[in-house]
Symmetry: none
């Protein structure tokens, strides 16, 4: 079907496709967010790597730090099939959910404060002319 799945990319190819620099991609790798295979010393990215990078970029655009993203990705990974692993995963997921809920609340209140400021700035501009 989608021959896309079989495509392989070099850093710069992938970088161009996704609109980032090769440097950035290599940097993500040093941060443990990516781990492409190698052909000699050259990085070779496959479909999964591409998808992973896209996920990273989306998350970034939306304000998550690379550390955040990494933690998040780690929750997806192999995660081992063992009971111990599953329990650990569950705990981590729950912790993460809790902390994200707190972020959500903080975000909400910041937003409503900003909306009030916006409204009052609007009024004051409307009135004065």
């Amino acid at each position: 079907m989608s021959d896309d799945r079989d495509r392989l990319y070099t850093v710069t190819e992938l970088a161009d496709r996704l609109g980032v620099t090769a440097r950035a991609i290599r940097f993500y790798e040093t941060k443990g967010l990516l781990s492409p295979r190698r052909a000699g010393s050259t990085r070779v990215y496959n479909y999964r790597d591409r998808a992973r990078l896209q996920l990273i970029l989306r998350s970034k655009k939306l304000g998550f730090s690379l550390a955040d993203i990494r933690e998040y990705l780690d929750l997806y990974d192999p995660a081992g099939g063992q009971r111990e692993q599953q329990q650990l995963l569950l705990r981590k997921v729950r912790d993460r959910i809790e902390s994200l809920q707190q972020q959500q609340e903080a975000l909400d209140s910041t937003l409503s404060e900003l909306r009030e400021i916006e409204a009052s700035a609007c009024r004051s501009l409307q009135q004065r002319k």
Copy 2:
């Protein structure tokens, strides 16, 4: 009325009152956000300085950079730029609102994904024993 208006503060007094460090306050000064008078070499802050610093801190909490804040504060000086100031404020606030809304969406979708992961981890633990 409010004798508060006559109070003067040293850096550390002001810092303690507003819950920041003296270092931070001095730093804001180097960035042109504050310019207290001096008694010899010692900084002396008055009511206005205090109000200004409070404004700075509130803005920071809402996610604006010191550069943003400075831009805004700079428009206050000429006794007439009020209108421009309000317009700038409105622009910046709206930008910020937009970016926070995007973050909010990202957070929401991340949260629901995590909840699915949680559910499936739960099931898999339940089933296996």
